[in-house]
């Protein structure tokens, strides 16, 4: 190797090292920002976390303030959202993947579902206000909120369910049909059992997205201040993100810290929901491995 080649090699290796550092910095950027954010929230919020904080109503006195109605509101909305969105979404995915003919119309629907997944959530809020609150006269209730949220997460559930259904090996479907089964029997006998972990993972992640949404529910009419506990789908309500947003906008400094405490509660619920999704996936992946 002459000196010219040696010089070039050195430069190539140098460039490689520089890129290595740059990419590491990119990765750290996200991690560090997130860590600072988390530390800040934990530092501010933890002193305010207590059983009373979970059990109290919001109040103008920081000491007495709690998150109870928002917590229950969030649970109500999310439960109903899942009950509405899951069957409709999975049903749509089964139709599109197994029943629908491969024609222009089906193609058009699939394309539009993918587009709907990218529509900003506030638009769904407007839709919810116009359709569910006004047109169907549901009022500013948990039910209207759940329907709005269901529409919001429906495209995500449909798409992830479609992917899960597509991953079912065609050899298994053929084996089922060759035994004289109908399409529906093959769906329940082979396709759903095989695709269910994927469907559940996607759906749970979609629901956890809905849990963190505030914008569409502000439009639909979640309350800023709630002094009662929602008892049914037709009650008025507020949810955790909106409660946090309200506290963050209050002039008293203590409320900023209470907002942080609220964020911690929301994060714990989100992490809980997501880890259920991960556990489900891991559990069934092992069983389905071949």
């Amino acid at each position: 190797m002459n000196s010219e080649e040696l010089r070039r090699l050195k430069r190539r290796k140098m460039l490689n090292s520089i890129m290595h550092v740059i990419f590491l910095a990119c990765t750290l950027f996200g991690v560090v920002v997130l860590a600072i954010l988390m530390l800040d929230i934990l530092r501010k919020g933890i002193p305010w976390l207590s059983l009373d904080f979970l059990k109290n109503f919001p109040s103008r006195f920081p000491r007495k303030s709690g998150i109870y109605p928002a917590l229950l509101g969030s649970l109500w909305v999310i439960l109903l959202t899942a009950l509405i969105a899951f069957p409709v979404g999975v049903g749509t995915a089964i139709y599109l993947e197994e029943y629908a003919e491969d024609n222009k119309f089906t193609e058009f629907i699939k394309l539009n579902i993918a587009n709907l997944a990218g529509v900003p959530s506030i638009i769904y809020g407007m839709l919810g206000l116009a359709v569910f609150v006004r047109l169907f006269s549901m009022g500013r209730t948990i039910l209207a909120a759940a329907f709005t949220m269901a529409i919001l997460i429906l495209p995500i559930i449909i798409i992830s369910s479609q992917e899960a259904i597509k991953s079912v090996p065609s050899s298994l479907k053929q084996a089922s049909y060759a035994l004289g089964t109908t399409k529906w029997q093959t769906v329940t006998g082979v396709i759903l059992p095989y695709a269910l972990p994927g469907i559940l993972t996607g759906s749970i992640l979609a629901v956890s997205r809905a849990l963190g949404e505030a914008a569409p529910l502000i439009v639909v009419g979640a309350l800023a201040y709630v002094s009662f506990i929602p008892k049914g789908p037709l009650d008025q309500f507020t949810v955790l993100p909106i409660q946090i947003f309200n506290w963050a906008g209050m002039p008293k400094k203590e409320f900023q810290d209470i907002a942080a405490a609220g964020i911690i509660v929301l994060l714990v619920i989100l992490l809980g929901v997501n880890s259920v999704a991960i556990i489900l996936r891991n559990k069934y992946q092992i069983r389905m491995k071949d």
């Binding site: 084996a175 060759a178 004289g180 089964t181 095989y194 071949d290």
Partner: protein, 251 residues
């Protein structure tokens, strides 16, 4: 000899591509019929027209008729779901369901409304014995079928097919993914099963066709070049192309 399936002037199209050309053939009951020929000659496509598995492919067209029990299987009188119960199928790659051995065998019966435990238990034992798998798996019939070896899985798939008590069992290159020992076991099994079932087998291996079949059809470019008793096809072929293929000059 009694024909169980009579194929008359069958044409099959993938879009505009005519994949099967004017096929006429009688398949005889309780015999093993082998389809041989080079890749892409239409033998698998033809096999799948016999239980209408091609229905699941879009943009295909069938002309002509296949008579089974006095009815054209492509007429409105024939329900494809019922047809597939009577004409079972075993695939190229073993494809057991990711379920227990037991549930694999009773899958078809359950879907056809048989749920009595005594009946299902009996069928499982009987079919596992019929495919010579019983002694190997009797202690683990409630374990996943995916734990079995490839050859065992394929015998399980045969058990799953005959659990439905079909008249005909279609086999689409059932040993091409298996080792020689497993292949030998499947071949022995085919000879055993022909007492109770009519078997139609697509194979890449001429030796296999010669070993196990009573009748052989040689396919080339979507046509049946020659169809006769296996011994005649291999000892005294009438067509030059058949002779060239079985002597290994092409294919």
């Amino acid at each position: 000899m009694e024909a169980i399936l009579s194929v008359r002037n069958l044409n099959f199209y993938y879009g505009d591509n005519r994949a099967l050309k004017d096929i006429n053939m009688d398949i005889y009951k309780n015999n093993v019929t082998a389809f041989i020929g080079p890749s892409g000659c239409g033998k698998s496509t033809f096999l799948r027209t016999l239980n209408r598995m091609n229905d699941f492919i879009e943009n295909v067209k069938v002309e002509g008729s296949i008579i089974y029990e006095g009815k054209d299987i492509y007429s409105k009188e024939m329900e494809p779901v019922e047809l597939r119960r009577r004409i079972g199928m075993v695939f190229q790659k073993p494809n057991p369901f990711p379920k227990t051995i037991y549930e694999n065998i009773v899958y078809g019966l359950r879907k056809n409304g048989v749920n009595k435990k005594e009946i299902l238990d009996e069928v499982v034992e009987k079919t596992l014995k019929a495919v010579a798998l019983y002694d190997e798996v009797k202690d683990k019939i409630y374990k996943s079928a995916l734990e079995l070896s490839g050859g065992q899985q394929q015998r399980l798939c045969i058990a799953r097919a005959i659990a439905m008590q079909p008249d005909v069992v279609l086999m689409d290159e059932p040993t091409s993914a298996l080792d020689p020992i497993s292949t030998m076991k499947i071949e022995e099994l085919v000879l055993e099963l022909k007492k109770d079932y009519t078997i139609i087998i697509v194979t890449h291996s001429m030796q296999q066709a010669a070993r196990i079949s009573d009748y052989t059809a040689f396919f080339l470019n979507g046509e049946v070049i020659e169809y006769d008793e296996t011994s005649k096809i291999f000892s005294n072929p009438r067509d030059k192309r058949t002779e060239d293929y079985i002597t290994g000059r092409f294919g």
